[in-house]
């Protein structure tokens, strides 16, 4: 690293806009949202200042205090104290403070100042402060703090020009490092009060809008009703808005497949392209619209500031099943994918609460399961309307999501029983101001998710699909063989072998086989089934959904849906559990309890449905 590279760390209270500022400065696309604890790792970026100097920027998890309480806060403390492995102490700290909440944020600024490093204060969200009539006397604030102060608006283009100019200039002189003890900590509040009365006038402590919204959103009755309606609408929307587009894409790829089939000579290669690629991958890519609709709602909710309210409403309920209100946001993001969800548990201070959340997070229905659900529901559940407004397919989807949630509650309760833990767990959660979600941020978020999906599709899913095609096609049946050729392939042998285990659940050999690639990536189950049926010649003309209806019963279909609701999740999830908990034991517990629950639930579903139909 050249001597001219200045290393700058962004620190501040949670949810003050550090990451938004980081993105604005570095052109990065790190995730931002409106709740405490979005950033849980140190992120690095660089930008070139107008002077031509390269500045290296570190984005750190937010913390209320250097007395760290959770793993993410610890990272920030270690970096600032120069104890983070492989990371030199930063040359300059940019302390970010929310201009609408200075009473809380200035205390941390003073605490950081005592570290004895050069500090610049970025007063962020000055636009919001102005709207609320908060007047800040910046020169006075600067004088009293003894730090350079600049105003920023991290969400506006050009909102950090003053900051860039400041950090591009001379590094300010550091204040003397001061010891940290209880008496001097208490003293910080007194200093903040003094500074505020001299430099800041606030017409009102809170935004009138927040108070008005919270009267409804946190109401004991209406609040819960609003939460239920919001969640329900999201799932209905996923199905009703995504489905027509999915059908269109599926038909498009089917048509492409038939065109290619005409152009190419019949043979293994034609079968690979038509059956494997267009049939298999085309079916999976069709579910992209549903996934994007789901992400649209999750991103909008995250930006709005509503999620911590939901956590507030549900805290008691979650506590009774061994979780905490703080588990709510990681669990909700697990609906997108369990991996960021499990990583998000780093903002839970209590190690036991955190482990319980990690163990149940994979039960939340991740978006990779959506293609499997949508395919089976579309094929087996009639398109009825119930009570005039709900569609039955949407209701079944909702029920599957609910099954995951109830399963998680049951598992949490069991973990709590086993631990018999009497020690106290803290909540201590800040509720941020509401904010109108920004279309641009949501669009970027959707773009990123779409890109990840397509990357998986052209990477692991494509590879597995080709592999499935290969083992379904070879070896060719011996001369004089009777029965379908696929029965003599590797896939046929493997599937029939697995069927011994899964037959009680109503799975035929094709389904049993598709569970293997599904362990690598859920969506591959769809591509694998499409390939196996296409190669086996059972697909007919109506696509995969028709092939399924022709080949297995409603009981098998429901059993498979239930299996996917509880089954041990993909390998990447297990790898993340290992990384986050540093324990293979937790991976083993996670895998085996989910296998057992899924097997039992599918068995019951299959046998009961068979009795009833």
């Amino acid at each position: 690293m050249s001597a001219s590279t200045l290393r700058i760390a962004l620190v501040g209270n949670p949810n003050c806009g550090k990451t938004a500022l980081f993105n604005l400065l570095t052109g990065g696309r790190q995730k931002v949202a409106n709740y405490a604890g979005v950033t849980i790792e140190r992120k690095e970026g660089r930008f070139t200042a107008p002077s031509g100097r390269v500045l290296q920027l570190l984005d750190l998890p937010g913390t209320y205090s250097l007395e760290a309480n959770s793993p993410d806060e610890q990272i920030t403390r270690d970096v600032l104290e120069g104890k983070y492995p492989g990371e030199a102490r930063p040359d300059l700290i940019v302390c970010v403070a929310d201009a609408t909440n200075l009473r809380l944020h200035l205390r941390f600024v003073l605490e950081v100042k005592r570290l004895g490093l050069p500090v610049v204060l970025a007063l962020n969200m000055v636009d919001a402060a102005q709207r609320r009539g908060i007047v800040i006397d910046v020169p006075e604030l600067q004088r009293r703090l003894g730090l350079p102060v600049v105003e920023t608006v991290a969400v506006r283009r050009g909102g950090a020009l003053a900051l860039i100019e400041r950090v591009d200039g001379d590094v300010p002189v550091a204040a003397a490092a001061l010891p940290d003890d209880a008496a001097s900590r208490a003293d910080l509040h007194a200093q903040v009060r003094e500074i505020l009365s001299a430099a800041v006038t606030m017409p009102r402590q809170t935004a009138a809008m927040d108070d008005a919204l919270d009267r409804w959103a946190l109401h004991p009755v209406f609040g819960l009703a609003i939460l239920a309606v919001v969640m329900f609408l999201v799932f209905q929307a996923v199905y009703s808005a995504g489905k027509p587009m999915t059908d269109l894409i599926g038909e498009g790829f089917g048509w492409l497949g038939t065109q290619v089939a005409v152009l190419m000579p019949a043979g293994p290669l034609q079968s690979l392209i038509v059956d494997g690629l267009f049939g298999g991958l085309g079916t999976v890519i069709g579910f992209l619209p549903e996934i994007l609709v789901l992400f649209f709602f999750i991103l909008a909710l995250e930006e709005s500031g509503y999620l911590p309210r939901a956590a507030f409403l549900l805290d008691r309920l979650m506590m009774s099943v061994g979780l905490t209100g703080r588990s709510f946001i990681p669990l909700l993001s697990s609906f997108a994918c369990a991996i960021p969800g499990i990583m998000g548990t780093r903002s839970i201070q209590d190690p036991r609460d955190r482990l319980a959340t990690i163990l149940v997070a994979p039960l939340m229905t991740c978006s990779a399961r959506l293609p499997v659900y949508a395919l089976l529901i579309g094929a087996f559940i009639p398109m009825h309307h119930v009570l005039g407004i709900f569609n039955l397919q949407g209701l079944v989807l909702f029920a599957l999501y609910l099954a995951g949630i109830l399963g998680a509650m049951a598992v949490g309760w069991v973990i709590k029983r086993i631990h018999r833990d009497k020690s106290e767990h803290a909540l201590l959660m800040e509720l941020p101001s509401y904010r109108m979600p920004k279309l641009r941020d949501i669009a970027i978020g959707l773009w990123e998710r779409g890109a990840i999906f397509l990357k998986r599709l052209t990477g692991v899913i494509l590879a597995l699909t080709v592999l499935m095609w290969f083992i379904s096609t070879f070896p060719s049946p011996p001369a004089g063989a009777v029965g379908p050729a696929i029965n003599y392939s590797f896939a046929g042998y493997l599937g029939h072998g697995l069927q011994y285990i899964f037959a009680p659940l109503g799975f035929n050999w094709q389904i049993s086989l598709s569970l293997i690639p599904a362990f690598a990536a859920r969506e591959t189950a769809v591509a694998a089934l499409a390939t196996v049926y296409a190669v086996g010649g059972d697909a007919g003309t109506g696509g995969l959904a028709h092939a399924l209806v022709a080949n297995f019963s409603l009981a098998s279909a429901l059993s498979l849906l239930v299996w996917f609701a509880f089954a041990p999740q993909c390998m990447s999830t297990l790898a993340v559990i290992r990384r986050e908990t540093h324990s293979w034991r937790n991976v083993a517990i996670s895998f085996s309890y989910m296998f057992a629950v899924a097997y039992a639930a599918s068995l019951l579903t299959y046998q009961i449905t068979r009795l009833l139909t």
Binding site: L218, H219, R316, L427
Partner: protein
């Protein structure tokens, strides 16, 4: 009185935070969050189930605290 006993919507100021046991991290965090002598507080909302947690407004910040956490804070009512 304890913050957990303060009626909803009543203005009060913090007296102090009591450690529930030696080196109580929750009490320390409460102090860091600004629960110190003389700060105005108010209970603005109460959780729907079992009247837990409490939403506490302190300064311009809203914190959700469980009753057991709020019980560590003693408050006095403002002279009306």
């Amino acid at each position: 009185m304890r913050l957990s006993e303060l009626p909803k919507g009543t203005d009060a100021v913090v007296d102090r935070v009591h450690d529930a046991h030696a080196a109580d991290p929750i009490a320390q965090r409460l102090r860091d969050l600004g629960f110190v002598d003389g700060e105005p507080v108010r209970v603005v909302a109460i959780g729907p189930l079992g009247a837990d947690p409490l939403l506490i407004q302190i300064g311009s910040t809203r914190f959700a605290l469980r009753r057991s956490e709020a019980a560590r804070v003693t408050v006095r009512r403002e002279a009306a």
